[in-house]
Symmetry: C2
Subunit: 121 residues, 2 copies
């Protein structure tokens, strides 16, 4: 059973965390190749990355893609998120947990900036 | 003369700031409706937003679009960036400085997440 976990930084502002949850709702409407799509947060919001992974695994997911909702390849993307994933891999060696490239690395970003610039008021 | 200023948060990691500069280079290659496309940083990197705007204005730009390279509508997007823009508007009332919606608000984000998930290793 295939699933996707979108991982954001997490914010003290609940509105920012809600933006991520709403985005995941939009992704669910768009994407039918994953039986479950959830989100998790590196810090400041729930669920944590390990808890998000454990919930997917408890629901029967044995193939999980983790997607960092980050714009730059800083420490969080390079070290913290892989570290959180590794801790759950050790607990569940039979589950495949794969890391997708972070959002900022997407080849479509310049095109998206272009369309946002067109929307300037 | 039309120009675009991509505004990122700025990081202590010069590599993250370089990612933004490279992105602006890609945007220049894609986009020919702006005579100049530059970047600026809210903090921790140069140029600042006012300095970035002043450089465009000094080069003859009288129509500037500011595009926040941010994923969520936090304080930086809602208050700090508009405040920096306002300070330069006061200095240069004849220049049009318009604010584009932040990147995270782009309708194409869910589709971009979908393609990043496909690239998981």
């Amino acid at each position: 059973m295939k699933s996707l976990l979108v991982v954001a930084h997490g914010s003290r502002r609940e509105e920012s965390n809600r933006e991520v949850r709403e985005l995941v709702g939009q992704l669910r409407a768009l994407e039918n190749r994953y039986e479950r799509i959830d989100c998790a947060f590196l810090e400041l919001a729930e669920p944590s990355i390990p808890d998000g992974l454990r919930a997917l695994i408890a629901a029967g997911c044995d193939d999980v893609v983790v997607l960092p909702y980050f714009l730059s390849a800083g420490r969080h993307v390079a070290a913290d998120i892989p570290g959180e994933i590794d801790s759950v891999r050790t607990e569940h060696p039979a589950v495949s947990i794969r890391l997708a490239p972070y959002l900022g690395a997407a080849p479509g970003i310049p095109e998206l900036l272009r369309s946002q610039a067109d929307a300037a008021q």
